[in-house]
C-alpha cells in the first residue's frame, strides 16, 4: 500500500518535471531565438565607434571593431588575440574587413573627428574630412593617407560617431532604422532599406487572404452543410488534410505550370498580344504568387471552417429554419456569424504560413530586386503582374547570395526580426478581430 503510493507519487512528480521541463526548454529556445535576433538585428544600426589603429610596421588603418577572437596557440605559448576591423573604403583598398593580430598593434585610439561617410556607392568611407568645397563636395583623407573627393549627392549620411553624445547616437540609430524600413535597397541589397520587401510581403499576404477566404469557406460549407456525409466526403476530407502536407515547392511548380504559363499565357494572348513575345501576365508576378499560396493554405482554412461550422449547435439551425428562414438564410445569417471566430482562426494560421513561405514563391514571381512596387501612381495603380520582393527571400539573398556577406550579416538578423514583426502584427490584428467577434457572438459557454 505504502510502496504503491510512493510509486504513484514518484511517477506523478516525475511526469510533472518531464512535461514542465520540456515546456520550459521550448520557451527558453524561443526566447533565445528572439533575444539573438533583437541583439544582432536591433544592434545593427547603432553607431559604432571608429578606431584608429597604428600598426607596428608604421602604417595605420581605421574602422569599426566587429569581432575579437583568440588565436589558437601551441600549448604553453602566451595567449594572443586578433580583432576584426571593418575598414570600408572598398573603392580604395579592396577588402571591406581586415583581421589584425593584437601583437602587431602599436596603439589604438578613437579620434573625435573621425568620420564615416555612408555613400550611395562603394559602401562606407572612413577617414577625416580635410576640406569642404562650395558645392558640398567633401575631401576625405583616409588613415592610409589617400585623399578621396566625395560629391555631396553621393553621401547618404556623414557621422562622427566618436564625438556623438548618447542623444546624437540615438538620432543616428533612428535615422538608420528609418532608412532600413522605408528606403529602397542599394548596392545589391547590401545597404539601404528593405521597404519593397516589406511591402511585397504584406501585399502578397493580403492578396492571398482575399483569394483563400472565399475558396476555403465555400468549400467547407459544401462539405459540412450540403454534401451527403458518406465515403466520398470522408475521402475528400482526408485528401484535403493531406494537401496541407504537400511540400510547398510542389505548389510552386504547379503555380508556375498552371497560373503563370497556362492562365497568364492565355491572358497575354488574349489581351496583351501586341506586347508578345515579351510576357505581361505570362511570367511570375505578385498575383500568381498570391494565388499559389492561396492553394497552399486553403486546406488550413477548410479544416478550421469545418470545425467552426460543426461547433454551431443543431438547435440554432433548427431555430432559424422553424422561423421560416431558408437554408441559405440560415447559413448566411446564423451559422456563418457563429462560425466566424473559427474561420478567422483558420485565416490567422493561413496568413502566418503564407508570410513565412519562400520556396514556392521563388518560381512564381519573387525576385531579388524589384524597386517598382506593385502599387504606384501610374494607372491602373495596382500592377498585379509585377514581380515583387519578399522578406523571407531577402534574408536568404542578403545572407548567402550577397557579394559582401560579412557586411550584410547584421542585416540578415534585422530582416529576420522584421519578418517576425510583420507576421506578429498581421496575426495580432487577426486575433483582435476574432476576439471582438467572439465577444459579440458569445458571452457565456452555453
Amino acid at each position: 500500500m505504502n510502496g504503491k503510493n510512493r510509486r504513484a507519487d514518484f511517477s506523478g512528480r516525475a511526469m510533472t518535471w518531464l512535461t514542465g521541463g520540456t515546456l520550459a526548454f521550448n520557451l527558453v529556445t524561443v526566447a533565445g531565438l528572439l533575444a539573438l535576433l533583437v541583439w544582432h538585428g536591433g544592434g545593427a544600426f547603432w553607431p559604432r565607434p571608429i578606431v584608429l589603429v597604428a600598426l607596428t610596421d608604421g602604417t595605420s588603418v581605421m574602422g569599426e571593431v566587429h569581432d575579437r577572437e583568440e588565436i589558437p596557440q601551441e600549448r604553453g605559448a602566451a595567449p594572443a588575440s586578433r580583432i576584426k576591423l571593418k575598414v570600408g573604403n572598398r573603392d580604395l583598398g579592396g577588402a571591406e574587413f581586415r583581421w589584425l593580430d593584437e601583437s602587431l598593434i602599436a596603439s589604438l585610439t578613437r579620434p573625435p573627428d573621425a568620420v564615416v561617410a555612408e555613400r550611395m556607392e562603394w559602401g562606407n568611407l572612413y577617414g577625416f574630412v580635410t576640406a569642404t568645397a562650395e558645392d558640398g563636395t567633401l575631401t576625405v583623407k583616409t588613415a592610409g593617407g589617400e585623399e578621396k573627393a566625395v560629391p555631396k549627392g553621393a553621401v547618404v549620411r556623414l557621422v562622427r560617431p566618436n564625438a556623438l553624445t548618447l542623444a546624437g547616437k540615438l538620432g543616428v540609430y533612428a535615422a538608420r532604422l528609418r532608412e532600413f524600413l522605408l528606403d529602397d535597397p542599394r548596392e545589391s541589397n547590401t545597404e539601404g532599406g528593405i521597404f519593397p520587401a516589406i511591402f511585397g510581403t504584406v501585399m502578397m499576404v493580403f492578396l492571398m487572404s482575399f483569394a483563400v477566404l472565399p475558396l476555403g469557406v465555400l468549400a467547407a460549407l459544401y462539405l459540412r452543410e450540403y454534401a451527403r456525409q458518406g465515403l466520398m466526403v470522408r475521402i475528400v476530407r482526408i485528401a484535403v488534410n493531406n494537401l496541407a502536407g504537400v511540400p510547398s515547392i510542389v505548389f510552386g511548380v504547379f503555380g508556375l505550370g498552371f497560373f503563370v504559363y497556362t492562365v497568364g499565357g492565355s491572358i497575354d494572348r488574349l489581351f496583351f498580344a501586341d506586347q508578345l513575345p515579351a510576357p505581361t501576365f505570362g511570367t511570375g508576378g505578385i498575383l500568381w504568387a498570391a494565388l499559389t499560396l492561396a492553394l497552399l493554405t486553403v486546406p488550413v482554412v477548410i479544416v478550421a471552417t469545418e470545425e467552426g461550422l460543426a461547433a454551431v449547435p443543431r438547435g440554432v439551425r433548427e431555430g432559424s429554419l422553424a422561423l421560416g428562414a431558408t437554408k441559405v438564410e440560415t447559413i448566411v445569417k446564423v451559422v456563418l456569424p457563429a462560425a466566424a471566430p473559427g474561420i478567422l482562426t483558420g485565416m490567422i494560421l493561413a496568413m502566418a504560413r503564407a508570410a513565412g513561405e519562400v520556396a514556392p514563391l521563388m518560381i512564381v514571381g519573387m525576385v531579388k530586386l524589384a524597386p517598382a512596387l506593385p502599387v504606384d501612381g501610374t494607372a491602373p495603380f495596382v500592377h498585379l503582374e509585377r514581380k515583387f520582393m519578399h522578406l523571407g527571400f531577402h534574408i536568404f539573398d542578403v545572407g548567402f547570395q550577397s557579394p559582401n556577406v560579412e557586411a550584410t550579416k547584421p542585416l540578415v538578423f534585422a530582416t529576420a526580426l522584421l519578418l517576425i514583426a510583420v507576421v506578429t502584427v498581421v496575426n495580432l490584428a487577426a486575433i483582435t478581430l476574432r476576439n471582438r467577434l467572439r465577444r459579440k457572438y458569445t458571452t457565456s459557454a452555453v
Partner: protein, 253 residues
C-alpha cells in the same frame, strides 16, 4: 367534440428509414386552445409535433403517409412554400436555442427574414413580442447585449418571443420546460395560458401535472399510436382506455 380544428391529422404514418415511428394517427387540433401530447419517451409525440411544421424534412430517410391539413390545405402540397408554412406555425424547442446575437436581433430575426428591416418597423414588434413573452421588463435595458447572457428560463421565453414576433397562427412547444427550474416553469406555463387567447398552442410534455395545468385537450401516445385523445379533464379523471389509466396513474411509463 372539436368545432374549429386548425390542424387536421388523418391516418398519418411516419418511417425513419425502415422503422415506423407513427402508426395511423388521426386527430384534430382545435383553434386557440392548448393541446398537449403526453406519453413515455420514444412514443412519437415529438415526431408528431415536428410533422406540423415539416421539421422532419431535415432528417435523412424520413417518409410519411397520410395527410395533415392546416386550415384546410395539405401541408405536403408540393405547391406549398415550406418556409412560409414555418412562419405561420412557429416552434419552441426543448433546449432553448437563442441565436448568438443580441436579444433584439433574436426577436427581430423572423421579421428580417420576411424583409422587414427598418428600425421603426422592428422596434414595436420587438417590444410587443417581448412583452407578450413576459420578458420585456427583465431585458428592456439590455436589448443589444448577447442573448446567450440570459438565464435558461429567460432564454426559453426569448425563444417564445422570437416565435411570436412573426405572428404565427400556431405555436408548437416541444417540452419547453424540461430544462427549467420550477419557478421558470411556472412563468412559461402562465405565459402559455396568456397566449391561448391569440394563438393555437400544441405542447409536448413529459410532465402530466403540466398537461393538466395548462392544456384543454390531451392526446396520449404509446409506441407510435394514438391511444386516447380527449378533453384534458375527461382524459385524466375518467380515461376510456386501460393503458391511459395505467400511464397517468404511474403504473408504467
Amino acid at each position: 367534440m372539436i368545432d374549429h380544428p386548425i390542424l387536421t391529422v388523418d391516418r398519418l404514418s411516419l418511417w425513419y428509414g425502415k422503422s415506423r415511428a407513427l402508426h395511423d394517427i388521426t386527430l384534430h387540433v382545435p383553434e386557440k386552445k392548448i393541446t398537449a401530447f403526453i406519453g413515455p419517451s420514444g412514443c412519437g409525440k415529438s415526431t408528431l409535433l415536428r410533422c406540423f411544421n415539416r421539421m422532419n424534412d431535415l432528417v435523412d430517410g424520413v417518409r410519411t403517409e397520410g395527410t395533415i391539413q392546416f386550415e384546410g390545405q395539405s401541408i405536403h402540397d408540393p405547391q406549398l412554400d415550406v418556409n412560409a408554412l414555418r412562419s405561420r406555425i412557429g416552434m419552441v424547442f426543448q433546449k432553448s436555442n437563442p441565436f448568438p446575437k443580441s436579444i433584439y436581433e433574436n426577436v427581430a430575426f423572423g421579421c428580417r427574414i420576411q424583409g422587414i428591416n427598418r428600425k421603426r418597423d422592428l422596434d414595436p414588434v420587438v417590444e410587443r413580442s417581448l412583452k407578450s413573452a413576459a420578458l420585456w421588463d427583465e431585458v428592456k435595458d439590455r436589448l443589444h447585449e448577447s442573448a446567450l447572457g440570459l438565464s435558461g428560463g429567460q432564454q426559453q421565453r426569448l425563444c417564445i418571443a422570437r416565435a411570436i414576433a412573426v405572428e404565427p397562427e400556431v405555436i408548437l412547444l416541444d417540452e419547453p420546460c424540461s430544462a427549467l427550474d420550477p419557478i421558470a416553469t411556472a412563468k412559461v406555463e402562465e405565459l402559455m395560458l396568456d397566449l391561448k387567447s391569440r394563438y393555437t398552442l400544441v405542447i409536448v410534455t413529459h410532465n402530466m401535472q403540466q398537461a393538466t395545468r395548462v392544456s384543454d385537450f390531451t392526446a396520449f401516445l404509446y409506441l407510435g399510436s394514438l391511444v386516447e385523445y380527449d378533453e384534458t379533464q375527461k382524459l385524466f379523471i375518467n380515461p376510456a382506455k386501460k393503458q391511459t389509466e395505467d400511464y397517468i396513474t404511474g403504473r408504467f411509463g
